[in-house]
Symmetry: C2
Subunit: 348 residues, 2 copies
């Protein structure tokens, strides 16, 4: 199955699921919630559904409608995380459009309502994120696949782990200085696990029921590594990404003071003067284009950018090698290889 | 079963469930999340579990361990709503203690961490609320009761409805002037449904499987009415409650500008001068004790307080009368009658 066909199936499943919420989320007052959900779900690379779907296929699953429902539900979890993330970071933009809380704030302002528009926007976005979170579990279960019950513990685990990972991410920024080890932990738990390893594990387990040893091996040797490389790419895009492609302002992670592997490696290798510059500018909400350029220069000069690119290349290479040993079809092997490349070399 | 014994079973089930999260929510970094969850769950009236349990008993269920697990899971949903509510309202206190986001803010301040302590507190509380929300569904399903699958659609419905109800509540404050009809809708959807009617329906359906007509009748004639009366009592406590009992500052709802039935009736019946006073003072975040007293005086003088008390009394009376026709045991009838009284005459 091509990525385009998969995308079409995922889109259709999401549309049908949201339509089924209409009797509850009904009337003009509640329409903005459902509209916001639809818009949020209209974009995205559908990587998580793809890892889930190809896990399923790798373990012998066929093209049943249920797998598209299960895989698509992961987009709801992701959308929930993005909406809440933007509230927590007070981000104005997401994929080049106003973030959900800013949209609700704007609705308040346009409607000339009472009270603080900002507070209304944040409150509405918290609730929208909650709906998406609830729906992700509901849609997952609605797939009706036979091994749902055996897979549910992994699904539960993934969601708790994601929230813990995001908390570790908050802590990492709060702690200031970070280490290679702590940066790797955050990359894995706030993103790598639920973006790659867990969707893959869910798909594999949905098809195979119990966990054959090769399944766990594939999750760790391939999924875990692609997951970390996926987040390292994200870290690089957060600093060097093209705003036109990422839909976020240039150097947004620098302004937010994100403590990533890129930063940990920069501080470890930079000259004392350059390190002082990083400590001074990183996390300055008013950082301008000149400041962004300055920090980018220091990160490049320290060798940290090259090091992170090498890490990504190494993780990718090892993950691809691990596919050779897995007892899966040629089609699944080739699709997972393509996905690993797509997830780690993306521009958005 | 006495309310005290039920409480013990609920407490034990919650403790065991949280213990099972330890392998994921592990280590000193994540401990504050689990500790905060434990503290949040140590208090509360356990009304929602009680309505669920007595629904189960009313439809013929016995004292199996699973029902305590299912009933207790409703406390996780409630705790999640409280944590997020306090973030959305920027409330400092909950049950006389600092609210969750203020605790995390304090942790940041005490630890002398980087960045905004307030933003860290809010972010951590959003994540804590998410964990509690996820866990409420996970614990519910872990009860292992035979009719779980038949009941799941009601459970899903309840959670989506709760988020929509909370959004309607935000809208109600934003709209300013409200009507009896809109106030009733908000009272029902933001609180009445998930506090009384839905827990009752879940318990009944868990025991009976499909929905016999008397079950739906009991949910509407009894559950719906007790739910509205429950929230009307909440509205009165938010204005006239004793801070020692409620754990919230006196007149907190007035400062937050909550547009409740009490306020709708006040504005409909007050003299033009008094109505102008309400419009001027309601929602003033700096409202002092004198202002609170002034507003209380206007609400009482308008007759709105008496009207709301009469509404509660009428809903209670009708709900109690509906119990007479239900084909349930004397023990369940008496317990549900006691619960209706407790839910509508409480001081906290």
């Amino acid at each position: 199955m091509s990525m385009d066909t998969l995308r079409t199936e995922v889109d259709r499943s999401l549309g049908e699921f949201l339509d089924r919420q209409r009797p509850i989320v009904s009337g003009p007052d509640l329409a903005p919630l459902l509209n916001a959900a639809r818009e949020l779900l209209s974009g995205g690379k559908r990587l998580r559904p793809a890892f889930c779907y190809w896990g399923w296929r790798a373990a012998g699953g066929g093209d049943e409608p249920g797998i598209f429902v299960a895989a698509a539900s992961l987009e709801l979890l992701q959308a929930s995380a993005l909406v809440h993330d933007d509230v927590m970071d007070k981000s104005d933009l997401r994929r080049g459009m106003p973030s959900a809380h800013r949209r609700f704030q704007r609705l308040h302002e346009k409607s000339d309502w009472y009270g603080s528009a900002e507070q209304f926007g944040e409150g509405a976005a918290v609730l929208l994120g909650n709906l998406l979170l609830i729906w992700s579990g509901e849609m997952w279960r609605s797939s009706g696949l036979p091994n749902l019950e055996a897979t549910q513990p992994f699904h539960d685990h993934m969601r708790t782990e994601l929230m813990c990972g995001q908390y570790l991410d908050l802590l990492e920024q709060a702690h200031g200085e970070n280490t290679f080890e702590s940066a790797l932990r955050v990359a894995l738990y706030k993103s790598g696990k639920y973006s790659v390893e867990q969707p893959l594990r869910l798909g594999l387990t949905l098809a195979a029921g119990g966990g054959a040893p090769w399944i766990e091996e594939l999750c760790v040797e391939y999924g875990n590594r692609v997951g970390i490389a996926f987040q390292l790419r994200d870290d690089i895009l957060g600093v060097f990404g093209d705003p036109v492609e990422t839909g976020k302002p240039a150097g947004d992670d620098l302004r937010e003071g994100k403590r990533t592997m890129l930063i940990a490696r920069t501080l470890a290798a930079a000259t004392p003067e350059d390190a002082a510059t990083v400590r001074r500018l990183l996390g300055d909400p008013d950082l301008d284009a000149e400041g962004v350029d300055k920090l980018r220069g220091v990160i490049e000069a320290s060798g940290a950018l090259d090091e992170c690119e090498e890490m990504i290349a190494r993780y990718l290479e090892e993950s691809l090698a691990s596919l050779d040993d897995a007892p899966i079809t040629t089609e699944a092997r080739s699709a997972l290889a393509d996905l690993a490349v797509a997830a780690t070399s993306r521009k958005t």
